[in-house]
C-alpha cells in the first residue's frame, strides 16, 4: 500500500515537472532574448544563452525612455485604484445577488451575465463618446470608473457566496450587526481566497490592458506601461530585443503580487459547502 503510494507520488512529480518545463521554456527564451542584441535575435539562431550578454535593452527602457517612471506610476495608480474599487463593488454585488432576495434580482443577474457576452469591439466607439462627454479622456478616472466593476467577478463572487453557510449570518445578525456591518466584518474576511483570486485577476486585467489606454490616453505623460513600452514595433521592423525586455519589466510586478496573494490559497478557510 505504502509502496504503491510512493510510486504514484513519483509519477505525479514527473507529470508536474514535465508540465512545468513546458510552461517555462517560452519564458526562459523570452528572458534570455531580453539580454540579446537585436542582431543576435534576428540571426535566427536559437539558443537559450545569449552569445553576447547585453544590458542595452534594459538601459533603453529605464534610461533612454525619460517617461518610464511616469508610466510606471500611471500603471500602478490605475491598476491599484481600479483593483481596490473592484474588490469592494464586485463583492457587494455578488453578495447581494447570492444572499439578499430583492425584486428585480433575477433581471439584474441576467443583465450582468448578458453584458459579458457582448464583444468590446462594438462598444468601444460609443464608450469613447461617453468618456468624451464626461470630459474624462486622457485622465485616470476615464480608465478606472468605467471598469470599477467587472461582471465576470460579480458572477464569480456570487458563485462563491452561494455556498456560504447561513448559520454564520444568522449568528452575526443576533449579535446586532446589520447587513453591511456583517458583510464587512464577517463575510469579507471569510472570503479571503476568493478576494485574493479576484485581486490578482483584476489587477492583471488593468495592468495588461492595452486597447483602452491606447485610445483614451493621448498625452505621452498619461500613457500606461503597456502603451509606452509598445513603441518598439515599427512599420516594417519589430525590435524584439526591446519588446522582450519590456515584457519582462512589466511581468515582474504582477508576479510579485501573485506571489503575495498566493498565500491566501494555502491557508484559506471560508465556505464549507453545505449540501
Amino acid at each position: 500500500m505504502n509502496k504503491k503510494k510512493e510510486w504514484s507520488k513519483k509519477l505525479l512529480y514527473v507529470v508536474l515537472i514535465t508540465y512545468a518545463v513546458i510552461t517555462l521554456v517560452p519564458f526562459v527564451w523570452a528572458l534570455s532574448s531580453s539580454f540579446k542584441t537585436f542582431a543576435e535575435i534576428s540571426s535566427g539562431v536559437m539558443s537559450f544563452i545569449p552569445n553576447e550578454f547585453t544590458f542595452e535593452n534594459y538601459r533603453q527602457i529605464f534610461i533612454e525612455e525619460e517617461l518610464f517612471f511616469r508610466w510606471l506610476l500611471n500603471s500602478v495608480a490605475i491598476a491599484g485604484g481600479g483593483t481596490a474599487l473592484n474588490l469592494i463593488f464586485n463583492s457587494m454585488a455578488g453578495y447581494a445577488l447570492a444572499r439578499i432576495s430583492f425584486p428585480g434580482k433575477k433581471i439584474w443577474f441576467m443583465l450582468i451575465l448578458a453584458v459579458i457576452m457582448i464583444p468590446v469591439q462594438v462598444t468601444m466607439i460609443p464608450n469613447y463618446l461617453i468618456l468624451k462627454e464626461l470630459g474624462w479622456l486622457n485622465s485616470y478616472q476615464g480608465m478606472i470608473v468605467p471598469a470599477m466593476i467587472n461582471a465576470t467577478f460579480i458572477f464569480m463572487m456570487r458563485q462563491f457566496f452561494i455556498n456560504f453557510p447561513k448559520e454564520l449570518e444568522e449568528a452575526a445578525s443576533l449579535d446586532g450587526l446589520g447587513r453591511f456591518g456583517m458583510f464587512i466584518r464577517v463575510v469579507l474576511p471569510l472570503a479571503k481566497p476568493a478576494l485574493a483570486a479576484q485581486a490578482i485577476f483584476v489587477f492583471m486585467g488593468f495592468w495588461n490592458d492595452f486597447m483602452r489606454p491606447l485610445i483614451i490616453m493621448t498625452d505621452a505623460e498619461m500613457y500606461t506601461l503597456t502603451v509606452g513600452l509598445n513603441s518598439f514595433k515599427g512599420q516594417y521592423v519589430t525590435y524584439w530585443n526591446y519588446i522582450m525586455a519590456a515584457s519582462m519589466v512589466f511581468t515582474l510586478p504582477v508576479l510579485v503580487i501573485y506571489m503575495f496573494f498566493n498565500k491566501f490559497f494555502m491557508k484559506g478557510m471560508s465556505f464549507t459547502a453545505d449540501k
Binding site: S43, I125, Y128, L134, W136, S139, Q141, Q235, V237
Partner: protein
C-alpha cells in the same frame, strides 16, 4: 450599522464627485480646446505611429527646426503604439482627432470619401511648389476633382535584394528578367536556403498580378480572379510548389523576407529601402546588393509605398497646421527627413540634391519610382487585399490551385463590398 453604511455611501459619492470634478480641467487638453492658449502660442498635435528610435530622433529634429522657425507654434507629438488606423478613426469620430497626422496611401481614398480630411489646394502657394512631388505618389491623395488632401513625407519602393556571396558561389548573375530569376532561384536553392523569399501579400505582389495587363481592382471591386491575374501570378506560385525554390517567411521561421535574406534563408528577396538601415544594424557582416526587380513579360514593375501628412478637417488651428505640413513636406523639412535614407524623398528636387540615384544600394530603388504601382487603389482596397492575402497563401503553399483560390477570394471580397 445604518450609520456605518451611511458613512460609506457618502464617502463613495464624494469620491465620484471628486472624480467628476477633476475631469473638468483635464478635458480641454485635447484637440478641441480653443485655437490659442493664453501666452499667444498655438499648440498643434501631430499623430503618427511609433517606429524605430532613429526615426523618432529624426522627427524630433524636424520638429525642433520647425518650432525655431515658428516660435508661436508648439507641436505635441503623439506616437500611437499600435493599431494606428483604429485609434485615429475612433478619435476622429469623437471629434478629438489630432490636427495633423500620418496617413498611408492605402487608407487615403476611403478617408477622403468620408470628408474628415481638409482639402489642401487652397493653402498651396508657389513657394511650396506642389509640382515638385512625384506624380504617381501624390495621385493617391487626390479625389476625382483633383483636390489634394495630403502631401507625401517620403516613399519606399521594392527592389531585388540579393546575397552577393551566394550568387558568386553558385556562379549566377543578377537576374534582369523573370526567366533568369527562375533559373537563378532554382540554382541558388540548397537545403537551408531558398532561391527567392516571397511575402505572399497583395501589398507586395500587386505589380506581378498586373504584369499581364490584368487588373486586380476594377471600379473599386475585386477583380483578381481574372485569367490575366492568375497568369501573372502563376509563375511565382509554380516556383514555390513545383520547383520548391521559393518560400514565404513563415515557412522558414522568419518574420519578413528581409530577415530571410539576413538569416541566409533566402538568396534573393523583393524588399524595400527600409532594409538598408536595418541590415546595417542587424546583419553588418552580410554582403548584399540591390537591383531593379526583374522585367516581367517585357515590362518593368515594382510597388511604391507612401505616407502623407494630412490635416484634420475639424481642426481649429488650420493656419498653423498648414505651416507644419508645408514645413515637413517642404524642401528643407524633407531633406532633413530623408537625408539618412530611411525613406526616399518624394520631391524630385530633394532627390537630385541628395543624389540617391547614384547610390549603389538606393539607385535601383529610386529608378523604380518611375514605373512603380503605388499601393493605393480606391476605398475598398483594404477589404480586397484582406481576401486576397487570405486565399493566396493557400495557393502559394500548394493547398489549392491558384485559380480556385483567387476566384473564391474575389467572390467573397465582392460579396463583402456589396453594391
Amino acid at each position: 450599522m445604518k450609520r456605518k453604511a451611511w458613512v460609506f455611501w457618502s464617502a463613495l459619492m464624494f469620491l465620484l464627485l471628486v472624480a467628476a470634478g477633476c475631469s473638468g480641467n483635464d478635458g480641454t487638453t485635447s484637440g478641441d480646446g480653443g485655437g490659442e492658449s493664453e501666452d499667444g502660442t498655438t499648440e498643434l498635435t501631430l499623430a503618427g505611429w511609433a517606429s524605430s528610435p532613429e526615426e523618432e530622433k529624426l522627427l524630433n529634429t524636424q520638429l525642433e527646426e520647425f518650432e525655431e522657425e515658428n516660435p508661436d507654434i508648439t507641436v505635441k507629438h503623439e506616437a500611437i503604439a499600435d493599431q494606428y488606423m483604429d485609434v485615429i478613426k475612433t478619435r476622429l469620430v469623437g471629434g478629438e482627432g489630432p490636427d495633423v497626422f500620418y496617413l498611408d496611401a492605402v487608407e487615403a481614398p476611403s478617408l477622403i470619401e468620408t470628408g474628415v480630411l481638409e482639402p489642401l489646394n487652397s493653402y498651396v502657394d508657389d513657394e511650396f511648389d506642389a509640382g515638385d512631388f512625384e506624380d504617381t505618389l501624390i495621385e493617391a491623395f487626390k479625389d476625382e476633382e483633383g483636390e489634394t488632401y495630403g502631401f507625401p513625407k517620403g516613399y519606399s519602393t521594392l527592389g531585388l535584394f540579393y546575397n552577393k556571396e551566394m550568387l558568386d558561389e553558385a556562379g549566377v548573375d543578377v537576374p534582369t528578367n523573370w526567366e533568369e530569376l527562375e533559373e537563378a532561384a532554382i540554382e541558388l536553392t540548397t537545403e537551408d536556403t531558398v532561391g527567392l523569399g516571397v511575402a505572399p501579400q497583395m501589398a507586395r505582389l500587386q505589380f506581378i498580378g498586373e504584369s499581364r495587363s490584368g487588373d486586380m481592382v476594377e471600379d473599386d471591386m475585386a477583380a483578381f480572379g481574372s485569367e490575366e491575374v492568375v497568369q501573372g501570378l502563376q509563375p511565382l506560385v509554380d516556383l514555390r510548389t513545383e520547383e520548391e525554390a521559393a518560400a514565404a517567411p513563415s515557412e522558414m521561421g522568419s518574420e519578413s523576407t528581409g530577415e530571410m535574406l539576413g538569416q541566409g534563408r533566402a538568396a534573393m528577396v523583393m524588399e524595400g529601402n527600409w532594409n538598408v538601415p536595418y541590415f546595417e544594424e542587424t546583419f553588418p557582416e552580410m554582403d548584399y546588393g540591390v537591383a531593379e526587380i526583374p522585367e516581367m513579360n517585357g515590362t518593368q514593375g515594382t510597388m511604391a509605398y507612401t505616407v502623407s501628412y494630412v490635416m484634420n478637417q475639424a481642426s481649429d488651428k488650420k493656419e498653423a497646421a498648414w505651416k507644419l505640413i508645408s514645413y515637413l513636406t517642404g524642401k528643407e523639412g524633407m531633406k532633413t527627413w530623408t537625408e539618412t535614407g530611411i525613406e526616399l524623398p518624394a520631391r524630385q528636387s530633394v532627390a537630385e540634391e541628395l543624389g540617391f540615384e547614384d547610390d549603389e544600394l538606393r539607385g535601383p530603388l529610386v529608378t523604380g519610382a518611375e514605373y512603380a504601382t503605388t499601393w493605393s487603389d480606391g476605398p475598398n482596397l483594404p477589404t480586397i487585399y484582406n481576401n486576397f492575402d487570405n486565399e493566396f497563401l493557400s495557393a502559394f503553399l500548394g493547398e489549392k490551385s491558384l485559380e480556385d483560390a483567387l476566384e473564391t477570394g474575389e467572390k467573397v471580397a465582392n460579396d463583402e463590398i456589396g453594391d
